[in-house]
Symmetry: C2
Subunit: 364 residues, 2 copies
């Protein structure tokens, strides 16, 4: 069962909770916007449902509500930011702002972030580049749940990559993908429904193929994009590894099995190899390559061409990256965001803890 709640109401609630946790107003606002975009775009696992997770990290003193976010190193086209254990929801947009500023002057800007926390959906940060006529790139490492090919060790996160590319009259092209076969949220949906997972999504604790949607909870691990070796799983492992290295070894954050878990009930390793988790953000000015108008008109042609590719089944049209999320955003802005009962209960607990008058039922 789920209830529909007005997205703006949820955003205001989220901002208020972050403020009461101690965040400065502007930081609470951008953090709330990031979670809200996840809810609108259909990434339910990364929206308001995750708010309690951040609070619990803060209670454990693993998250700093008033970070001193500092640029610790820079060149004309690069920078490194120390997030001071703040919300990734806040440090990543700061890093993207710096990348955009660098790109304005040097053509491109690339910023690695250390000492951060979970940064929400990757696309939110990449999309900041669009209004500047830039290509935005965003990636982050994450709690280790994924095994390298031929291994049963959980050594990588779902390590997403987002790429946002502007078009002219067509909507922008927006990739936002975990480098695993599926995001963890997809397994959680199957768990709630008591359903099995397709083969290729996860392996059991012995590294054998499994359809158990609870595989992770039973000591198993997620599989890199591609699944097993025969189907290219080693390429997903490569991509996840690249994200880990760009995000954490360039910046000085924790990598691989040392990445602190998002869930507060699991302690981080006591022998860290860096600070917090890491992100990597990039911005490339279109007109550092060719006039933006030319580029964007070819993007329109690319998009229209691919949208009109010959379909296999009449009812399944060919999609452009970003299409499903954009359609869902329009729908959810109108109809509201569907929240699972367990999520609503968790939000009520948070509201009580922070003395906020939370009435989702009156904002459907």
């Amino acid at each position: 069962m789920s209830v529909l709640v007005d997205s703006k109401y949820l955003k205001n609630f989220t901002q208020a909770i972050f403020e009461r946790m101690g965040c400065p107003v502007d930081q609470a606002k951008v953090a709330a916007e990031c979670l809200n975009q996840a809810d609108l775009r259909g990434v339910d696992s990364h929206g308001v449902a995750r708010l309690g997770g951040y609070i619990r990290l803060w209670e454990k003193k693993r998250l700093n509500a008033q970070p001193n976010i500092r640029v610790v190193h820079e060149t004309p086209s690069t920078g490194v930011i120390d997030g001071d254990l703040g919300l990734g929801l806040v440090t990543a947009p700061e890093a993207m702002k710096l990348a955009i500023k660098k790109a304005k002057q040097a053509g491109t800007g690339w910023v690695a972030v250390k000492n951060s926390n979970h940064y929400g959906i990757a696309a939110f940060h990449a999309m900041m580049a669009l209004e500047e006529d830039m290509i935005g790139i965003s990636m982050t490492n994450a709690s280790p749940l994924v095994s390298p090919t031929f291994s049963k060790s959980r050594f990588l996160g779902t390590n997403p990559i987002a790429v946002a590319i502007p078009a002219l009259n067509e909507p922008p092209f927006i990739i936002d993908m975990a480098t695993t076969t599926v995001a963890n949220g997809k397994l959680e949906v199957l768990q709630r429904e008591g359903k099995d997972a397709p083969l290729g999504w996860a392996q059991d604790k012995d590294g054998l193929p499994t359809t158990d949607s609870f595989a992770l909870k039973n000591g198993g691990s997620m599989l890199p994009l591609g699944g097993d070796r025969l189907h290219g799983g080693h390429k997903g492992y490569c991509l996840g590894a690249m994200v880990d290295i760009f995000s954490a070894i360039l910046s000085g954050a924790n990598y691989g099995p040392w990445v602190p878990p998002f869930v507060a009930f699991l302690d981080p390793p006591n022998d860290p190899v860096g600070d917090g988790i890491g992100h990597f953000l990039g911005a490339m000015r279109i007109d550092a390559f060719r006039p933006a108008g030319e580029f964007k008109s070819h993007m329109d042609n690319w998009i229209k061409t691919f949208r009109n590719a010959e379909t296999i089944e009449a009812d399944k049209k060919v999609l452009i990256p970003g299409d499903p999320e954009r359609e869902l955003t329009i729908q959810r802005l109108e109809e509201g965001v569907p929240l699972q009962e367990a999520v609503v209960e968790d939000l009520h607990r948070l509201a009580k803890q922070f003395e906020y008058n939370f009435n989702p039922e009156q904002h459907a």
Copy 2:
């Protein structure tokens, strides 16, 4: 049946043929080095076996042996190169040199190339950054053989991505992957052996799953990394699309179905949307982020940690990207490069055409 031929002999032969085609000596040399590295690294489809393909493009006047390679646009961290229809084997290293030069000054360098041809293995160009203590990135679009998810149109190439990252005492971390489940060369191996392909590699002309290793020749298409939608094939489609856009729309080359086919017996579309095919090369100076020694010692730790991940089967160790190619290089430098009989015959034809005294049997 295959014969083993000394790799240096093959490299000298390749350089001589390129010279006799009209390439300047230094360009013939780098082109031969690129094909040779493919043979050593085990990418047999991109080595000397492909030499005849370049010659046939040149005969059709689709390849310029004496190109005027020009930088047509630049900013402190970016550049665009017009390859003047030269060998991609030559224009891509030129572009990488420019990217490295930019990175020395601005921290990173990013160069898009138009009006080029097939550039060999992606890793060759990315690896140029290693000796400069930089991360190298290389991608290219290619002959359209791959269908977007839910489509049976061949709209994308196998569009590879290579990333080369230096370590300290460990060998470098080197990704070189097609953004499809497998590279086309893997299908060709099965064809020669008369074997079926696993499900998830290709689809037939109606877009249905197939195990036909000749699917491409029968009007079918290759599948993006991940295979079908349920197993994340839309993510492989996203990655292939990104490579196409970075390589061709940023540079002004042909993209999607307009990419000129590598095989000379297929004519390019008569309504081009750009010039030749496109590449995208990048170089990031490590110490634009943190001291190179620090970074590389953490890379060693990353590599050792992953190499020692717990295995599923005792006889299958966990690999680091680049391991298999490095091991094969050592072996082939010693034992020689295995060439299929059909390849040897093709090389004899080329030798005759260019009046070169070719004796592979005496250089085993």
